[in-house]
Symmetry: C2
Subunit: 430 residues, 2 copies
């Protein structure tokens, strides 16, 4: 007879290590509805206080993974490598990395999420391309992967249903900020993609979930441990999110910026990070014998336009067509000071973009594909009073004065030139 759920809760509450069977019972019960929301939320809060051992976190990940469909890509030849970012403002690398790595001969099965709060989501960005569909069936997804090596889809109902239920519950019960729960949520979905390896982009800074390098390192290590326990190759980069990545925050304007990069234009930070993440994936996928070679492979694919052509093929394959739409109105936010941009409250920039319609406060909100912010200066740049620090893109009536105030308040201008922040801070694992 299985132990009652209350015994499993007490076990965790009292700091004992749960067995694989106890964790499976709990997650299976929750998925099927036999374990109630109120028991799960008490359990999650106990985990918040007691944490989980490596073993427990791995068992939780496995149980969540097996609560739904696990995609089988074994029929496809070649290594399958994906990237996961913990999310930030202006973080659009998937749209550049996917084409580069696929063009290197690696299968990139990208199952992405939507944006929430100050962070954007890959699905919203892609769907700003007119006609682009992320609602492929698993069969269509595999067919496209076999043909192009790259396919973008959204989380389906069949994949990790327990994660969907648990995340919604965590959101309203104060149990989001908990490393083992974050890890199991991320890794269960990634393992469902049937990948051979994973590159993690752990964001740290004012626009990221992790505010300190120490927290980021803890998360990176915990994620890497699960990947290794699941026999997946893994590399984690800890990267800076103390300013938006690139110059755009929104959806169609971010896609435009990615196209710029693929055309050998666009901001250096976005290009550099995309090359580095691509190189790590190419290395994991066995298409280069060391990281220097892998970087060269990525550079060559980008510079030659191969990645651009592959991305254009993916757009066509998924029903999309260029050019991208533009917002009907723009507004220039003008600097009231001269000096150097010394810091940017990045989360505030994300929230300002949300107020223009580019994001969602609640899961059920809709997103304006063309709204957003173009930033004209980055940390370390000199700016003069009267210059446009940012351009707002929007439709209809929007709280422009409020957004302007937020942006001006978020960008600190000082007389002294600051040190240019490092983009890639650390590499963890492999």
């Amino acid at each position: 007879m299985p132990a009652p759920t209350s015994e499993i809760i007490k076990f965790k509450r009292d700091g004992l290590e749960l067995s694989k069977i106890q964790i499976s019972e709990l997650i299976e019960g929750y998925t099927s509805g036999n374990v109630t929301d109120y028991q799960m939320s008490a359990f999650l809060m106990a985990v918040f206080f007691r944490g989980m051992t490596k073993k427990e976190t791995f068992f939780l990940t496995q149980a969540m993974l097996h609560s739904g469909l696990v995609i089988d890509l074994s029929s496809l030849e070649g290594k399958k490598i994906d990237k996961h970012s913990t999310g930030g403002v202006g973080d659009k690398t998937s749209l550049i990395i996917g084409p580069i790595v696929a063009a290197a001969g690696i299968i990139v099965p990208m199952i992405s999420g939507r944006g929430l709060g100050h962070t954007g989501g890959t699905l919203d960005k892609l769907e700003s391309i007119p006609g682009f569909s992320t609602q492929l069936s698993v069969v269509q997804f595999k067919e496209q992967l076999s043909r192009l090596g790259l396919s973008f889809i959204g989380q389906t109902k069949e994949i990790c249903p327990s994660d969907k239920k648990m995340y919604a519950l965590r959101d309203v019960t104060g149990t989001v900020e908990c490393i083992p729960l974050i890890c199991a949520s991320i890794m269960s979905k990634k393992l469902a993609e049937d990948i051979d390896g994973l590159v993690l982009d752990i964001k740290v800074g004012s626009g990221a979930f992790m505010k300190t390098i120490k927290e980021a390192r803890t998360l990176a290590k915990a994620l890497a441990e699960i990947a290794r326990a699941a026999n997946k190759k893994v590399t984690a980069l800890i990267t800076d999110m103390n300013q938006p990545l690139g110059r755009t925050i929104g959806n169609s304007i971010e896609v435009e910026e990615c196209l710029d990069i693929l055309k050998n234009r666009g901001p250096k930070d976005l290009r550099d990070l995309s090359i580095e993440l691509s190189a790590q994936m190419i290395l994991l996928g066995g298409k280069a014998k060391n990281i220097a070679t892998a970087r060269n492979v990525a550079e060559e694919i980008l510079t030659s336009g191969k990645a651009l052509r592959l991305f254009e093929e993916v757009i066509v394959a998924q029903g999309g067509r260029l050019p991208l739409p533009k917002a009907q109105r723009t507004y220039a936010v003008v600097s009231k000071k001269s000096g150097f941009v010394s810091s940017i409250q990045t989360e505030t920039m994300g929230l300002a973009s949300l107020l223009l319609g580019a994001g969602r406060k609640k899961t059920e909100d809709t997103v304006d594909p063309t709204a957003g912010i173009t930033l004209h200066y980055k940390i370390g740049d000199a700016i003069k009073k009267g210059n446009a620090v940012a351009t707002l893109h929007f439709n209809g009536e929007k709280p422009l004065k409020e957004v302007e105030k937020m942006i001006l308040g978020a960008i600190e201008i000082r007389l002294q030139k600051p040190r240019t922040p490092r983009l890639i801070l650390e590499r963890v694992g492999r």
Copy 2:
């Protein structure tokens, strides 16, 4: 605009002290259904880990108290004093104390609960008296208090509805064992009785919820603090529950034992504790100027038969009639050893009685009024192999072999005579 519930949960989770307003919002919301079970269970688990300050515990008690009806006894002349026991096996003192203290001229408004698990409940015991009703209206309750000074009723739906919901939730979410939650649950119901003072009987030992004197002391102090904050007089006794109180465990057999005490017969431990608790109530009620006098008052009322007559009047007033029913079958459990009874696993004795039908595993179970166990020996008594250590009272088919095994396993017999355990261990407060 009130703060969302998730913010209140996070506040407690992060170890901050909740305000009176936050606690009221939470409890009002939970009572009305605006706060969900899953949010409340996450909150309760956070309280389990973070505890509550004295202030928070008092605000929680008040909020739970005001979630329902507060009885108004101000029209009745005289002090209103009640007793609360944390529960044990064979704990039947209410039926003796109520009549003694009421006969001393104090109003005793006894609102009691039902038994659950290994512990019995006053309501179940009283309802084993044929015809006895504990379902009085508040008007009938007050009328009887004014006429006899004593009335027994059950918890009504109107009193502390939030406690009922919270207790049911705690039971299945591993949040029962938590001092501030236990205190608020007990005290909200006691404060709803509109009493002037309260005597607490905190049980400690193998048959009690509190297993160590330290835990018992912590609970006693926490309860006394709430009573004082609510301007109620309070005395707490910490008393032994390392063996059943008296010799009977069940319902009608426990009532019979109480009648024995009221007739100046019956076991010494039950008589001594009843006198002491009565004396403490008489002292709080201002009917004696010191505890020695109060003990004399209680002794005189018991010895003279006044308490017996008052109890008989209460039985008649509440529709009951004697004699008590008896079980159809009995079975003697015979000792396989000679020596001295040196310890009794008291909780096991309660569970054995439950298997005979005297208790309930779940709230909705019914109770056999006549079933139970009579213990023929107490700790320190000499016993011979072949003597009946206990008599089982039951009806129909019962797992007699299992019960016999439990009882023999629960009673430790050694060659050396043990020290007789002290009954009243400590007094806390006033």
